[in-house]
């Protein structure tokens, strides 16, 4: 609970602006590049396989011939948009980007780079952390869209290549009974998750004390705490918005 209070104060300290807009703009662009480059290949890989596996498993479970086979791709689409792309990818995002944010900030703290910024009169928390959070919130939804597309392509490839269903059936399933609110919902979720992962990871890293061992601990805690926060938020958002 005390930790939560410190987290709130930390968030407050971010918006006490000191630097010019152009400085933040440059830093945000920089962070966006970093996030994109670091995570795109992993996202493509994981989501393609997720789509593929979902297709195979759904086909395996649909044993009755009463259900038309295009339902398989419909299930793949719903699973991908609602849960796999935004939520499962958030866990990957926390592992890849969250841990590196916490590790980077933790290292800056213990090697006194943060003190060096403060001596120059820079509000280090807003200078270092705000761009990271904003960049996550911009990039993560884009990555989720990429992941969604890859997942559906993965399903298509496996489904048609192994003869589970024909290309026509797959496309038909993808297009049938589509509620576009699910996309909006997925994007809202992504922005919220990205904020949680970015801010919690930075919080853990920024307040590291001690040495290299503590940086490792901060990095691990960043992943654990942000994953828990993401799952809780997932539950509340589903209750609230669906």
């Amino acid at each position: 609970m005390k930790e939560f209070g410190r987290y709130m104060i930390f968030l407050g300290s971010l918006v006490v602006r000191r630097e010019t807009f152009i400085t933040y703009y440059r830093l945000v662009v920089d962070e966006c590049m970093q996030i994109g480059v670091k995570s795109i290949s992993l996202f493509v890989l994981v989501s393609t396989f997720m789509g593929a596996v979902t297709t195979v498993q759904t086909a395996f479970n649909l044993v009755t011939p009463l259900v038309p086979r295009y339902v398989i791709s419909q299930v793949v689409r719903e699973m991908t948009v609602l849960e796999l792309a935004p939520t499962i990818m958030a866990i990957i995002f926390a592992g890849k980007i969250g841990s590196s944010m916490a590790g980077g900030l933790g290292t800056m703290r213990i090697t006194e780079q943060i003190d060096a910024l403060e001596v120059m009169g820079i509000n280090s928390s807003s200078y270092l952390v705000l761009p990271k959070i904003v960049a996550s919130m911009l990039m993560y939804p884009l990555l989720v869209i990429v992941a969604g597309v890859c997942s559906i392509i993965g399903g298509y490839l496996v489904g048609t290549l192994t003869g589970i269903l024909t290309p026509t059936e797959y496309i038909m399933g993808i297009r049938s009974i589509f509620n576009d609110y699910t996309i909006t919902f997925a994007l809202i979720k992504s922005v919220v998750f990205a904020f949680l992962i970015g801010s919690i990871s930075c919080f853990k890293g920024y307040y590291t004390q001690g040495g290299a061992l503590e940086v490792g601990i901060a990095s691990t805690e960043a992943v654990t705490s942000s994953v828990i926060a993401v799952l809780l938020a997932d539950y509340f958002l589903a209750n609230l918005l669906l």
Partner: protein, 252 residues
């Protein structure tokens, strides 16, 4: 000249500094010495404003820094350079970007002028042709030099160094000490150095403040340090047999 008055600081009821007062002269290397854990770094952080003291003030040429409003604070900050223990270089930047960073933040100089200034400072600390090396690629001694270059790039009036020669071999230590001392005299800077290294104390200790467990016990120069009559200081100075045999004699 920097003057401190009655600075006290505690962390969670643990008193680290008690009523420290003193003066640090312009154009001199002022040392804060004492064994590890006596609060030297905490005192330095209170002076530069990284920590807020519980009581007391730091005055920069009669300007009260501790209780200053935002404008005065940032004005004084522009005149401060600081060298951190490990150099504290930004590892995402190369040497040139590191040294230029204070100019980027604190001035509106055009790029060419900044580059000239950066090259001048790097040359002054004995580093040439390393501009494009990343901070992680250079040795400990070089990091300290780059740290010094970054600290002096904006022509500071005040220079702070926390253990400038920790982690360096004795020869490099002495070179770094001499570099800081030369720069202090050359540019007439008020320099405060935190150290527990006796070589530095004897070598460049023009004005010395001795801290012991949070209290200031002695103040003087390296010429007087061997006959201070303060027991704790004697324990600090005469660490080994060779030094003990010199007790009472004049070393500098």
């Amino acid at each position: 000249m920097i003057k401190i008055k009655n600075i006290s600081k505690s962390f969670n009821d643990k008193s680290v500094l008690r009523n420290i007062s003193g003066e640090f002269d312009k154009g001199k290397t002022n040392l804060i010495i004492g064994s590890s854990g006596t609060g030297k770094s905490v005192l330095l952080k209170c002076i530069v404003g990284l920590l807020h003291p519980d009581t007391g003030y730091a005055f920069y040429d009669l300007r009260n820094f501790t209780d200053a409003d935002k404008d005065v604070k940032s004005e004084i900050r522009r005149e401060i350079g600081m060298l951190f223990q490990g150099g504290a270089l930004f590892d995402s930047k190369n040497v040139q970007e590191n040294v230029m960073f204070p100019l980027d933040i604190l001035t509106k100089m055009p790029y060419d002028e900044k580059l000239d200034r950066v090259n001048f400072c790097l040359k002054r600390v004995g580093l040439e042709n390393v501009n494009k090396k990343m901070a992680s690629e250079i040795s400990g001694g070089m990091k300290k030099r780059v740290g010094i270059a970054r600290a002096i790039v904006n022509n500071p009036n005040y220079l702070f160094c926390d253990e400038p020669n920790s982690g360096l071999d004795p020869q490099t230590s002495i070179l770094i000490d001499e570099l800081i001392s030369e720069i202090t005299h050359e540019f007439n800077i008020t320099t405060i150095i935190v150290t527990h290294d006796m070589n530095s104390v004897l070598g460049i200790g023009e004005k010395i403040m001795f801290l012991h467990k949070g209290d200031k016990l002695w103040e003087g120069s390296n010429e007087d340090i061997t006959h201070s009559g303060v027991k704790e200081l004697d324990d600090f100075v005469f660490i080994n047999k060779v030094m003990k045999s010199l007790k009472g004699t004049k070393l500098v």
